[in-house]
C-alpha cells in the first residue's frame, strides 16, 4: 500500500491533468515526486523554493485570479511558520485554497521537534471557515482531495504516515458510526481509528469515526449520545483537547462529560519511532484502553 503522501502526489498529478483550474504551489518539499506534473503543466506547478511566506502569498494570488491553489509542505512550515499569511492571504482576501500537509504530529520522530506539528488543527481553529480533513487511510485521503479540488472554499488536509489497516467510506462531512454501545461515545479521528478499535474491544461503547473534524459533526455526536449517558471521549492524533470545545458545544443543552485525548503539549525531547511517541502520549491501545475505561467507568465493560 502506498502512503498518504504518495497518494496525494499521484492523485493530484491526475487532478492537474483533469482540471485546468487547479494549480499546485510547492516549497521544495515533494518537488521530486511532482516532477512529471511540473513537466506536463509548467505554468500550474510552481515551486517557489524554500520560501513559505511566498508560497502562501502565491496561493492567495493564484486564487485572486480564479485558479484553485493546492499548497503543500510539512505542517510546521505550511501553517505555523507563515500563519499570518494563511490568515490574511486567504481568509481576509476572501479567497480559498487547499492546504495539504505532511509530517503530522510525529511522522518523523528522528527529525525531532522542528518537524512536529501537533498544534496545527488548534491553530487553524482560531480562523473562520476552514474545513479540516484528517484522513486515516490513503483511499480516504484521495477521496477527500477529490472532493476539495473543485470548490472555492478553504480546506486543510492533514496527511500522516500513521494509517489504519483499511479505509472507510468518507463523505467529507459526517462522522461514521462503526460500533454501537450504551455506556458512552468514543470519537476516533483519522489515523487513531485502529488503536481506538483495539482499545475499546469488548467495551459497551459507541465508536464514531471522524475524518472531517471542521466543521464538527455536532448532530452526529448528539445522535450517538441519544438517551444514553452523555459521556464522550475524543481521540485525536494532534494536540489533546483540540475538539473538546466542539463536543461541549454539541451537547450544550444536556449535562455531559468530555475527555479529550491526544498529543500532549509538553515537548518530550525524544527521537526514535512513531510507536514510541504514540506510547509516550498514551495513544497506543493499552494507554487508550486504560484512560477510556477509567473515564467511562465500570458500565463500559461488557
Amino acid at each position: 500500500m502506498d502512503t498518504m503522501r504518495e497518494r496525494f502526489i499521484s492523485s493530484t498529478t491526475r487532478l492537474l491533468a483533469e482540471d485546468p483550474r487547479l494549480a499546485l504551489v510547492l516549497a521544495d518539499i515533494s518537488a521530486e515526486g511532482f516532477r512529471p506534473a511540473a513537466r506536463a503543466h509548467p505554468d500550474r506547478v510552481i515551486n517557489v523554493g524554500i520560501r513559505e511566506q511566498l508560497m502562501i502569498g502565491v496561493g492567495g494570488g493564484l486564487a485572486l485570479t480564479g485558479l484553485r491553489p493546492v499548497v503543500h509542505t510539512f505542517a510546521s512550515f505550511l501553517l505555523e511558520r507563515p500563519f499570518e499569511q494563511v490568515k490574511l492571504d486567504f481568509g481576509h482576501q476572501g479567497v480559498g485554497g487547499v492546504l495539504v500537509s505532511v509530517g503530522a504530529s510525529y511522522d518523523w520522530p528522528a527529525g525531532g521537534f522542528t518537524h512536529m506539528a501537533p498544534g496545527d488543527v488548534a491553530l487553524l481553529d482560531t480562523l473562520d471557515d476552514w474545513t479540516v480533513h484528517v484522513p486515516g487511510h490513503p483511499d480516504e485521503a484521495e477521496a477527500l482531495l477529490r472532493r476539495a479540488a473543485p470548490g472555492d472554499d478553504r480546506v486543510y488536509v492533514r496527511l500522516s504516515l500513521q494509517s489504519n489497516e483499511h479505509g472507510w467510506p468518507v463523505d467529507g462531512a459526517r462522522f461514521l458510526t462503526v460500533r454501537e454501545g450504551r455506556s458512552g461515545v468514543v470519537v476516533a479521528v483519522g489515523p487513531m481509528m485502529d488503536h481506538v478499535m483495539a482499545a475499546t474491544e469488548g467495551m459497551d461503547v459507541t465508536v464514531l469515526y471522524a475524518t472531517t473534524v471542521r466543521p464538527f459533526d455536532a448532530a452526529g455526536v448528539r445522535r450517538a449520545v441519544g438517551h444514553g449517558p452523555a459521556d464522550v471521549v475524543v481521540v485525536e492524533p494532534y494536540l489533546a483537547g483540540t475538539s473538546t470545545a466542539a463536543v461541549n458545544d454539541a451537547l450544550a443543552d444536556v449535562p455531559h462529560r468530555v475527555l479529550g485525548l491526544g498529543v500532549a503539549r509538553r515537548e518530550i525531547r525524544r527521537y526514535g519511532r512513531m510507536e514510541e511517541h504514540l506510547a509516550a502520549h498514551g495513544l497506543d491501545p493499552a494507554g487508550l484502553r486504560g484512560r477510556i475505561g477509567r473515564f467511562l467507568g465500570a458500565g463500559a465493560s461488557r
Binding site: 505554468d43 520560501r51 493564484l62 485572486l64 485570479t65 480564479g66 485558479l67 490574511l88
Partner: protein, 233 residues
C-alpha cells in the same frame, strides 16, 4: 503626452478630495508620498476603469503599503471607482473606507492590506495565475514602501520573481527614507541583483514617473523606486 500644468491641477483636486477624509486642507509629505505616483499610474498607465474593475483582462494594482490610504481613496474617487460622498466617513463604523483598505468593501481595491509584506507575494501569485490562464494582456502592479521592504516576505518574492522571468510584474517602491536601518547600497540594487529591470526616479516628477513606469523590460520584472521627501524632513 502631458505637460506638468494639468498634473498640478489634478493634484490640487486630489488633495481637496483627501481633505474630505482628513478635514485638513494641508497635508504633510507623508500623507501625499504616494499621491503623484498613484495619479500617474491611474491616469496614464493602468488599463482599468470602474466598468472593467471585474474583468479578467484588467490591469491589477495592489496597494501593499495600506497605511495612510487617503491618497489612494482620493485617486479611486477621482477615477469614479468610489463615490466622493463616502470619503467623509473615512474610518467610521459604517464606512467602507478604513485606515487600511479592504478589497471586500471597496470596488476597484484588489487586496486588503495593512499588515506589511503581503502585497508583493500576492502580486507574484496574481502574475503567475494570469500567465497560467493565458491572459497575456494584464499587467500587475504592486506599491510598497521603503520601510515595508524590511519585511522578509518581500525578499522571498523578489528573489523568486527575477529568475521566474515574471515580466508582467511591476513593483513601485515609494522611498521616503523611513526604513529604520536604511538601505545601504540602494533599494534598486536589491531588485537588480535578482535579475529585475530597475529605474530610480523623482517621485514628484510626473514625466519621470511616466517614463519609468512605461520603460520596456522584456523577460524581466520591473521595479521603479520613486524617491520623495524623507519622512522625518
Amino acid at each position: 503626452m502631458h505637460d506638468t500644468a494639468p498634473d498640478r491641477r489634478d493634484l490640487g483636486r486630489l488633495t481637496a478630495l483627501m481633505a474630505l477624509m482628513t478635514g485638513d486642507e494641508k497635508h504633510g509629505p507623508a500623507a501625499t508620498s504616494t499621491l503623484d505616483a498613484l495619479w500617474v499610474l491611474y491616469d496614464r498607465v493602468l488599463r482599468v476603469t470602474p466598468e472593467t474593475a471585474d474583468s479578467p483582462e484588467r490591469d491589477r494594482f495592489l496597494l501593499s503599503k495600506g497605511h495612510g490610504p487617503m491618497a489612494y481613496y482620493a485617486v479611486l474617487a477621482a477615477k469614479g471607482f468610489i463615490d466622493e460622498e463616502v470619503l467623509a466617513g473615512f474610518g467610521s463604523y459604517d464606512s467602507p473606507l478604513g485606515h487600511h483598505p479592504d478589497r471586500m468593501l471597496v470596488p476597484g481595491v484588489e487586496i486588503g492590506s495593512g499588515s506589511l509584506g503581503h502585497g508583493l507575494p500576492l502580486a507574484v501569485g496574481t502574475a503567475l495565475g494570469l500567465r497560467a490562464q493565458g491572459l497575456d494582456t494584464p499587467r500587475v502592479w504592486v506599491l510598497i514602501g521603503d520601510a515595508e521592504l524590511d519585511e522578509g516576505s518581500n525578499h522571498e518574492a523578489i528573489a523568486f520573481a527575477g529568475p521566474a522571468g515574471l515580466d508582467r510584474l511591476h513593483t513601485l517602491v515609494i522611498d521616503n527614507a523611513s526604513a529604520t536601518h536604511g538601505w545601504p547600497g540602494g533599494i534598486a540594487t536589491r531588485f537588480a541583483a535578482a535579475g529585475w529591470s530597475t529605474a530610480s526616479v523623482d517621485g514628484r516628477d510626473p514625466q519621470a514617473l511616466y517614463s519609468a513606469f512605461t520603460a520596456p523590460h522584456p523577460g524581466r520584472p520591473h521595479a521603479v523606486v520613486a524617491r520623495v521627501e524623507p519622512r522625518t524632513a
